[in-house]
Amino acid sequence: MTNNELIDRYVYAVSAQLPGSIRNDVDKELRTAISDMLDERCDGMTPSENDVKVVLTELGDPSELALKYDPRGERWLIGPKYYRSYFKVLTIVLIANTCALILAGIVSAMAGESSGAWYSIAAEWLNNIWNTALAVFAVVTIVFAVLEYKKVNIGSNGDLMNLPPVPEKNEKISRVDSIIGIFVGAIILVVFLFAPQWVGLGVMNLPDGGSRFVSLFNVPVVKDLWFLFVVSFGASIANDCFKLIVARYNIKVAIVNAVCEAVTIIMSAFILLRSDIVNPQISELVSELDVAPEDVEVVSGIFSHLNVLIFGLIAVFGLISIVVTTVKGIKYSKAAK
């Protein structure tokens, strides 16, 4: 390679990384600088390739030099300010996700769902775990990259004289509760996605002496509605992740909680208020139970409306959570001022 070519490549490696407004200027200045350095080194003689090499080495790595020139300074995908929260959320969500999928593999193997050679089942299982982990990694990373790019404050607002007060005992959101919430959400989601037939009623000592297990839900319908389950539990997991980061009641937590709970309630309505969601075999089970004749109507009424009852519970607990979190959020935000 000729000396000029070596220099061209070096200068290009630097200037290509710079914003257009200063690129040409730096290009010209750098060329003259290299030429001056060579002149001094060779004292009028024609520089050898080795001379060029020494001078370029002195200038150092093109990326580092470009960084020194770059008026935008150091930029991050996820900088030190967000890194700890990012890492915490990523670790917990990835672990919860992987545990849930491992459980899913075991559950579907036990449920006799999988068919084929064990190694192809194992390969598919590992593939699922890997793909989902990648998706989780991507989502968490994108969310934090947006926070970094927009410089969103998730901690203090930078005003040292106005930092949030040390949380009172009841103001803190227990990290353990949030983590348990994430894990429980992930595990229930997995069961609904991979083995909905496992959610059911077991009854022992039937009048005929046997025992029976009947799925609560209509399995094909649940499998058709998988997307609603993902959105519903996804909202609940996102809610717990946010609580884990902020770790105290405030307005932001109240708003995020209200939105997520609302999503969960609405999705549950779409799932549970369908007439075909309850397994028809449930009513057959009732007829086999040893129930006093005068109670039969009540019991079969309860069983045929189990979906509505479950939705009622979800809605009531969701609304309670919205009210309690909002009241605490407002109370402690006022206290902070």
């Binding site: 200063i22 010209k28 200045e29 001056d36 008026p71």
Partner: protein, 111 residues
């Protein structure tokens, strides 16, 4: 870290702090990067090329220096010169430097 390495990094840290003032003091007349580098090293202040050139550009963007391309010589050169604002800052920096030097002498037991 070895003793030499540790010392080198500390010396670099010390120099880094004095570099801006050295540059501001040398640019009453227009100079291009490499001539400034030679002048500073003539005064016993060695600076690396890859530090000085980006620094000149930064000081210019902060309004302390102004620059002009001279294309009449054999190579196009960018000449830097201190601005009015730069001179004001320089005088204040000089005061700080003198006070710091005094305090340092005291603390080091020279007086």
């Amino acid at each position: 870290m070895e003793q030499n390495e540790l010392l080198t990094s500390m010396v670099m840290e010390l120099r880094r702090g004095t570099l801006v003032l050295s540059v501001l003091c040398s640019l009453d007349r227009p100079m291009y990067g490499y001539s400034l580098l030679s002048e500073l090293s003539g005064h016993g202040i060695p600076v690396e090329t890859n530090t000085l050139y980006p620094l000149l550009r930064r000081l210019e963007s902060q309004g302390l220096l102004e620059s002009e391309w001279n294309t009449e010589e054999s190579k196009p050169r960018k000449y830097y010169k201190i601005t009015q604002f730069g001179s004001e800052i320089r005088e204040k920096l000089k005061d700080y430097w003198r006070k710091t030097a005094e305090s340092m002498s005291e603390i080091m037991g020279d007086q």
